[in-house]
């Protein structure tokens, strides 16, 4: 009998190796842990990164999260390619009808911050108010030494430098919160541009994600844009003081964001909350006017519903909320009335 050719022996060896590997892999896979897959907002991503290992230790369930953006998260949960979606913007009417049995649950409280790069000004020095910010982004205020800005910053020397506005070129919950605020404080903005996760900007430069916006601001003297507060704090960017309706100039610190959330008296049935531009009342004297809730979106009935309910319930507990409200992550604990409404909505998930 002729000797088996080299190629035949080689193929045989490969086949044996593959079979062994396959058996080993399937044996390992037999011991399965529950995994919850989520996708969406990049604003909540640092919080999920802190929650995931803590929850895995507490319950054995693994959380996989991809920060692909609020819009993509909504698309993914509508298509049921993930177990939960996360979005900073509440579902629009068309999205809610496309995702028929979805509920949105507010599970964290954060903010967006106007960030600038003006030679001669350090962080927290620039003071702005809503109407001025709207005019800057509408292109009506074109230089830093414009009388409107000078009026808000007496005693600060502002250079005669052209203003370059920077915005997100991708769909983003930060854009939603920012344009929501501008629509509240400027009727012209509301009619000309409107608010959404992505709008048609009247001029300015677009950057891709928080990192892109930060890169453009850092390399463009005289620029101003808006970035999530956690990103601003972690990267020591120059942030502006905003004048809230009560008349005080505030920074986006966790207590000031928490103060803005106190404006919620009752939560509507669809959990759609807007807390930008809190009204002029001594109760909100320290409120940061560009605060926003961020939502987790799940189907009311799905294979993973019990595991999801346990996870979201855990995320709403004071322990989990305090894990993420520190000076590094800057999420504020959600107020009680919202907590109650969130837990009530959660009972629908089973």
């Amino acid at each position: 009998m002729p000797r088996l050719g080299t190629s035949i022996r080689f193929t045989g060896a490969c086949a044996v190796a593959l079979a062994t590997a396959a058996t080993m892999v399937s044996a390992a896979g037999a011991k399965r842990t529950t995994t919850l897959n989520g996708a969406g907002s990049s604003l909540i991503a640092p919080a999920v990164a802190v929650w995931a290992p803590a929850y895995a230790k507490a319950s054995g369930t693994e959380i996989n999260y991809s920060a692909v953006g609020s819009g993509a998260g909504i698309a993914a949960i509508t298509a049921k390619t993930v177990d939960f979606g996360a979005s900073d913007a509440p579902l629009t009417d068309s999205q809610a009808s496309a995702c028929a049995d979805c509920v949105q649950i507010p599970w964290a409280l954060s903010a967006t911050v106007p960030t600038y790069n003006v030679p001669g000004l350090h962080s927290g020095q620039l003071k702005l108010d809503g109407p001025t910010l709207a005019k800057i982004f509408l292109g009506q205020i074109k230089t830093w030494d414009d009388p409107a800005i000078k009026k808000l910053n007496p005693g600060t020397s502002l250079p005669n430098l052209a203003i370059t506005t920077v915005h997100r070129s991708d769909g983003s919950g930060d854009t939603y919160a920012f344009t929501d605020y501008l629509s509240h404080v400027s009727a012209q903005w509301a009619s000309q541009v409107g608010n959404s996760t992505s709008v048609s900007w009247p001029g300015g430069v677009g950057g891709a994600k928080n990192a892109g916006v930060a890169a453009v601001i850092a390399s463009t003297p005289g620029s101003i844009g808006y970035i999530s507060v956690a990103y601003v704090v972690q990267n020591h960017l120059d942030w502006a003081r905003m004048k809230n309706a009560a008349g005080n100039y505030v920074l986006a610190s966790a207590p000031d964001i928490e103060a803005a959330a106190q404006v919620v008296k009752s939560v509507p049935a669809d959990n759609k909350l807007s807390i930008v531009d809190p009204p002029a009342s001594p109760k909100y004297k320290n409120a940061w006017p560009l605060s926003t809730f961020t939502y987790v979106i799940v189907h009311t009935s799905s294979a993973q519903a019990p595991a999801l309910r346990k996870f979201i319930f855990w995320a709403l507990t004071p322990k989990a909320q305090h894990m993420i409200s520190n000076s590094f992550l800057v999420f504020a604990p959600i107020p009680k009335v919202v907590l109650v409404a969130a837990e009530k909505t959660l009972t629908k998930v089973h």
């Binding site: 953006g69 629009t92 709008v199 048609s200 950057g207 390399s219 620029s223």
Partner: protein
């Protein structure tokens, strides 16, 4: 006594069947691969048209000339004009910028450089092609953009400001001009390495004959090497153009996301591929998704047209000007 039958065919070492099986397999596999590739192209084209259908039925062909992109619900309106303009402008000028540089590099590496230098420089230029688009985009927005804005843009504007292309520079490093330079850097290695191979393939006898007749080096290059390599260089330019038109990630980071059509290269702009890359993941409504796929369809058609035109040019140039490979002429 049996006579020797000389007409009997000699015994062959392998039976006839095994040879036919090998031929059949070759034909079958190669044919299947070719058919698969064709089917894939048609499938992609069909899926793109299908995905863009809601937007095509709503906006029709007017989409191509309409200059708007508003995703806010309640006032949605989409149009491709500014992105189409951006794609054409960036690809054309990137090719214009890269071609002389690439041919110059190829000439240098084949004719002018000392032998010691040729190897390392060739390797370095080809490594440029291996740099990922994301990295080039990041470098572009952090380093190249501010450098161009600070030096080149103001110099061009002060010297050539009467040309509408070189209007007032913007304060940001992100602009169409930065995108053009980034695309040129990405096209450069492709065109230069193909041109280098072509120049190396020019027969020595032709070059030496020309030099022996008393031509200068430049006259030899212009009279012998360029006509010989012209067809291949045109093909290299097609490859470069294809890369430039389709580049999404690097461009979206450096181009600044503008939506207005302007001839000033120093303003922000956007291209078809870059807009799709930026907005597709975050698209909020079905109409926006369909409109983005419609942009993809326009890009597909544009690439097809550009490729076909370029193929025609290659064929004409190779036929009428080139020294034919058959040996005559």
């Amino acid at each position: 006594m049996a006579s020797l039958d000389v007409t009997e065919p000699a015994r062959r070492p392998f039976s006839g069947r095994r040879v036919h099986l090998g031929d059949l397999l070759l034909q079958g596999l190669a044919g299947a691969a070719a058919a698969g590739a064709t089917a894939l192209v048609l499938l992609i084209a069909w899926k793109v048209v299908d995905g863009a259908h809601p937007s095509i039925s709503k906006f029709g062909l007017g989409f191509i000339v309409h200059d708007v992109w508003n995703p806010v619900s309640g006032r949605e309106a989409y149009g491709a004009a500014s992105f189409l303009f951006g794609t054409v402008i960036t690809s054309f000028f990137a090719l214009l910028l890269a071609t002389p540089l690439a041919i110059g590099i190829a000439l240098f590496l084949t004719e002018l450089a000392p032998r010691v230098v040729r190897g390392p420089v060739t390797a370095l230029v080809e490594t440029l092609a291996a740099v990922p688009s994301v990295v080039i985009g990041l470098w572009g927005i952090l380093v190249l953009g501010p450098a161009l804005r600070g030096n080149i843009e103001s110099w061009l504007h002060s010297g050539l400001g009467w040309i509408p292309l070189f209007g007032a520079p913007s304060a940001a490093g992100a602009s169409i001009f930065t995108a053009i330079v980034v695309l040129a850097i990405m096209i450069l290695p492709i065109v230069s390495s193909i041109s280098r191979e072509l120049f190396l393939g020019v027969p020595h006898e032709l070059k030496e004959g020309a030099l022996a007749l008393g031509t200068t080096r430049w006259e030899m290059v212009r009279g012998v090497m360029f006509p010989y390599a012209r067809g291949g260089i045109a093909a290299a330019l097609i490859l470069g153009l294809g890369r430039a038109m389709g580049e999404a990630i690097a461009v979206t980071q450096v181009i600044g996301g503008g939506t207005v059509i302007s001839w000033n290269l120093f303003n922000q702009g956007d291209t078809l591929a870059s807009k799709i890359a930026a907005e597709y993941q975050g698209a909020t409504s079905n109409l926006e998704v369909a409109s983005l796929i419609y942009l993809g369809l326009i890009l597909l058609v544009l690439s097809l047209i550009a490729n076909s035109v370029a193929q025609l040019i290659v064929r004409r140039v190779a036929r009428t000007h080139g020294v034919t490979r058959g040996g005559r002429g």
